[in-house]
Amino acid sequence: MSDEVSATSTAHGDRIAGVVLAVLAAGAWWHAQTFVTGFMQPVGPGVFPRLVSVPLGLLAVYLIVRPGLDHRWPGAAALCRQLGVLLLLGGYAAFLESWGFLPSTLVATVVLMRLFGASWRQALPYGVLLGLALYALFEFALGIPLPNIPGLSV
């Protein structure tokens, strides 16, 4: 476990976040100027976003100047797993409607269990079980229609 996590004592994390937030605040301010104030409105749609982006920008600058302690970021192996989970879930969202609920969910449950450390012998039966249970829960118990497999009514 410990070899997967690299510790740093510099405060790069806070500084980078400060820069990103400062840019975001400036962008929000600038974009808010394009919002057209409509008919008879003393306060238009751009005022509130600008009211919020000022303190956000100032606090972000403060974060760059006076960052806090930095934290441990994940090592390569943990990072790979995290990316794997995000990719899997993103792919699941992308294929949910074109494949239908059951096939995409069964793939997602099995692979997700693998990523969380199950062996194939654990992931296959329990993944299928979980997928079917989800289907039963949403389709029948909660009565929420889920995407069908193309050409089939399931």
Partner: protein
């Protein structure tokens, strides 16, 4: 007292065995649905409305069933807050702050028991307040105009620095980020699309449930992968609910304060249950100052928001029933429910249909008693669920959240949005920036902005309207006092550390 006679009648109706059975069924189903992240009262009530019609239930019976489901969902929401660090719905968010640390310390059962008692007391206080003061409170509530509401939201955000133990700067950054994210979508006043960049999926703004599940559930999942995956998962001990119930005697003053604060914010339409639980938590934290262990598993950090949340839900019934205004998301569901039964809330409802009004109040109360009783076996059940190995539990929680979010709008876009919020939540938590203020900003930002703009429309563009009434000046002074107290407290801690 005519009202007491009506209330007694309401209880007599609600206590019939058939109705008690319905309340039991409703609370159980509701708790199970509410405990699943991403599923909440909307799903629960939507599921049971057709069922109630199909069984041909009488209006009172249907109302009791639906109200029980609704309360069950609220209770289920705090179960997942405490044991998984994932709030089932937005008012349960504050309960994660101390409930989850308690659960990690093996005191999950205690937290669950305590939250049940606190909710029950909060609901009882609200019921009493509703019975005694409803007509008077309506008169007070309408004194709150746009400028006063704006002041109330300023108060909420001024105290946000006290939410978590992290730095003031970071809490305010998170709040500003939430407020900014809350402006995304079509501006309802001018119909201008803000920060949508041509994506019509963003026109209706960022759904706070999507943000909530992303920020809490998905980020928890990512953190788990680097933190706990390879540990031999020592199954978390939940323990029994009984000590928590006993503990609640020690927390009685906390529960009392939380109930009153929650009730007041519930009575103001537009403030709502989330603000109730938030203010109860923050003010309780301030009350104890350095003597509390808030954020590290202080039982009072569970008792205060739970009492506040339920008292607010009860208080919000006053403007909903007597003015027809749903003050919060939760009362909006109840309003939809009443309308579907041909009951139109309004100024004449208390006079024209007193049996319905007091029947509803009794049903809400019975739902709470039922949950208090159900709590003991349910804690055992959830303790069993949590003993499942983490390679099964985490995928299950993630996928239930995923399908639950998908089922809101049948939209894969919501899923991408949830993943994006998951990554955001992960990064924020890594940087010690609290996520609770982000959700609060998203949740309250819209009302804050529109009340500002309404106030400015009333004054014709004169900003001084914001501090021109006694109520708003009082709220601002209170906010300043709390802000100063927080700063002094932070300085004292720094001195002590040096």
């Amino acid at each position: 007292m005519e009202i007491l006679a009506f209330l007694a009648h309401g209880f007599a109706v609600a206590l019939q065995p058939e109705h008690l059975l319905l309340a039991l069924i409703g609370c159980t189903i509701g708790t199970l649905i509410g405990a699943l992240p991403g599923l909440g009262p909307v799903n629960g009530v939507a599921l049971l409305i057709p069922l109630a019609f199909n069984f041909g239930l009488a209006p009172t019976a249907a109302l009791i069933l639906l109200v029980s489901v609704y309360y069950g969902c609220m209770y289920g929401g705090r179960i997942s807050s405490i044991v998984l660090n994932i709030p089932g719905d937005e008012p349960a968010m504050m309960t994660t702050l101390d409930g989850y640390p308690m659960a990690r310390a093996g005191r999950g059962g205690e937290a669950l028991g305590l939250s049940a008692v606190a909710s029950f007391v909060g609901a009882t206080v609200a019921t009493i307040g509703l019975t005694l003061f409803a007509p008077l409170l309506v008169k007070v509530a309408i004194r709150f105009g746009p400028a006063e509401y704006f002041a109330l939201f300023v108060l909420a955000f001024a105290t946000i620095g006290g939410v978590t133990s992290g730095s003031f700067t970071k809490s305010f950054i998170a709040a500003c980020l939430g407020l900014l994210l809350g402006t995304v979508g079509i501006d309802p006043v001018s119909s201008v699309a803000r920060y949508t960049f041509g994506w019509y999926e963003l026109y209706d703004g960022i759904d706070y449930i999507v943000a909530l599940v992303g920020l809490f559930a998905v980020s928890e999942c990512l953190l788990f992968l680097e933190r706990d995956r390879d540990k031999a998962t020592a199954a978390m001990r939940i323990g029994s609910a009984i000590p928590g119930m006993r503990r609640s005697f020690a927390c009685a003053p906390t529960i009392g304060r939380g109930s009153v604060i929650g009730f007041i914010s519930g009575v103001l339409p537009g403030a709502g249950a989330s603000l109730g639980s938030f203010l109860s938590y923050v003010l309780e934290k301030r009350w104890w100052g350095a003597k509390g262990k808030f954020g590290e598993g202080d039982p009072r950090g569970v008792a205060a928001p739970e009492a506040g949340n339920n008292a607010a839900a009860g208080g919000a019934l006053i403007p909903m029933l007597s003015l027809g205004i749903p003050g919060s998301g939760t009362t909006a569901i109840l309003l939809a429910l009443l309308l579907s039964m041909n009951i139109t809330p309004g100024p004449l409802l208390f006079e024209q249909q007193p049996d319905m009004v007091w029947g509803l109040v009794a049903a809400l109360f019975i739902g709470n008693v039922m949950l208090l009783v159900l709590n003991i076996p349910l804690v055992g059940f959830f303790a069993k669920v949590l003993q499942a190995p983490s390679w099964f539990l985490m995928p299950m929680v993630t996928l239930v959240a995923f399908v639950g979010i998908y089922s809101l709008n049948n939209s894969p876009f919501d899923l991408y949005m949830m993943l994006a919020f998951g990554v955001l939540g992960y990064v924020l938590r890594k940087l010690d920036i609290p996520t609770v203020p982000v959700v609060l900003g998203l949740l309250l930002g819209g009302q804050m902005e529109f009340n500002l703009r309404r106030a400015m429309s009333i004054s014709g563009g004169d900003w001084s309207i914001l501090w021109s009434s006694g109520i708003s000046i009082g709220i601002y002074l209170f906010a300043i006092a709390l802000l100063l107290a927080g700063l002094v407290y932070a300085l004292l801690i720094r001195k002590r550390l040096e």
